[in-house]
Symmetry: C2
Subunit: 273 residues, 2 copies
């Protein structure tokens, strides 16, 4: 029998279902001693059962608590075993996994990253050039006392340079709220929820109403996306007001606010109007 | 026997070798009647033979001429057959494929995109947050009479907003030069070449020498990357001057000019110094 390396594989699953894993990723999963699935920064469009069926192995769900606190034990396991840590999308698109990566490197764990598609490149299908996106932003569910307007400022800044803005929309999967954080405790099993394109537009319009800087009005051209990379993907382009009443279905949603348009980008957007 | 759909599959191969294709992509390739490999905007790290061995099928190379002129015939084929068009990286990260997509849609061809990793997300491994990248730019081989400084301006603009800049470095794979373009003819079989991190830095320093705006000096912190997503990936961080003498090996190279650094980003960069 071959002696196994002590390795932590951080493997991207891509955007949709169990078949979006790469051949390389699947090989590592099949040879791993233990498999964790990160389950709070993104949502898999298929159940964990379908992964288990494909892999022929048990998959352990890892929530935010696990990754931010408990992953120390996973790093320790990787000193003696092959551990596969599965991440929806691409592994290195989120800061949390960077933190995991750095902690493992410090402990001399061998790490291998298996890349995959993420929303940040799959959004290319909309037809706006990836080159011409400025800073990315996120729109979070408002919490009492926290008046977040960062996304409005990012759109403003990108627009001033003629650049597109990708707004990633919030998702809450058993994640601690402000109250939990202030009391330094884990999430009290909050119901999972995700922000819709409609909610994000409403959020931006309400900031516009306060600030009146004409950054995001009812006439602002927007592109709403749902389930990018999936067969049931929806992309719709139109002014903010018209998208407010469109139904984009289940998670995940994202919102794009285009900057200056090249004629080919304009042509591409007509596909979704 | 099942009746096949008339479909054009545009399938991302990921960044490194034949095993970076997704299971979904491989299924489509195996059921396709004809397989084309786009072979001029990026380089596969393995030979086409390894693809053919994995697929059990012949793969036809498609150069720029083919995609920009001849792909009309491929679109016609897709009216009666299943065609797989393979793209290194992710299919929708380059404008050329968007053009293909639009042309096919106009002719009522059914199209399916199979996403994969691209340099634009794989660059996350460096440890600079993907959120905080501004506009992307490319550095092209200088041609006589064309004094391109766009990348210098993009870096300047991104830095002013504290954002990182990803510079994609030029690659010439049998691509028409200025003279070819002016004479409206195809490339005269130019030798393939790719721009190194060192060349890109020299290019930026020479623009700095002319413009003296202190956007990119010998002291500017840079991150040079080669073969992102591959096992033989190289990432090196340091000031421009020190990276000038580093050897990054074979293609593809990219250069990152960081903006303001968060402490975790600083920590990540120390891995590569």
């Amino acid at each position: 029998m071959l002696k196994k390396g002590m390795t932590l594989y951080i493997i991207g699953l891509g955007l949709n279902d169990e078949k979006d894993i790469t051949l390389k990723g699947l090989e590592k999963v099949r040879s791993a001693d233990k498999i964790y699935l990160e389950s709070y920064t993104a949502i898999l469009q298929c159940g964990k059962e379908r992964l288990e069926e494909l892999y022929g192995k048990k998959v352990i769900l890892a929530d935010r608590d696990f990754v931010e606190k408990g992953s120390e034990s996973m790093i320790n396991e990787a000193k003696e075993k092959e551990i596969a840590f599965l991440v929806v999308g691409d592994p290195m698109s989120a800061t949390t996994h960077l933190d995991l990566y750095l902690r493992a490197v410090k402990q001399n764990i061998k790490i291998e990253i298996i890349h995959n598609a993420s929303v940040m490149n799959a959004v290319g299908i909309v037809g706006l050039e990836l080159y011409k996106y400025g800073k990315t932003t996120s729109v979070v569910f408002p919490e009492e006392g926290w008046d977040v307007q960062t996304h409005y400022d990012v759109i403003k800044q990108n627009k001033a340079s003629g650049l597109h803005t990708l707004c990633l929309l919030d998702i809450k999967v058993k994640e601690p709220g402000k109250e939990d954080l202030m009391n330094n405790r884990s999430a009290k099993g909050v119901e999972p929820r995700f922000m819709t394109v409609n909610q994000a537009i409403n959020n931006l319009l309400s900031i516009e109403e306060k600030r009146k800087e004409k950054v995001f009005t009812e006439d602002t051209l927007c592109v709403g996306c749902a389930r990018l990379g999936g067969n049931d993907m929806i992309v719709k382009a139109g002014d903010a007001k018209s998208l407010l009443t469109e139904d984009f279905g289940g998670p995940l949603h994202s919102l794009i606010v285009p900057g200056n348009l090249h004629f080919m980008e304009e042509e591409a957007l007509t596909l979704w109007k």
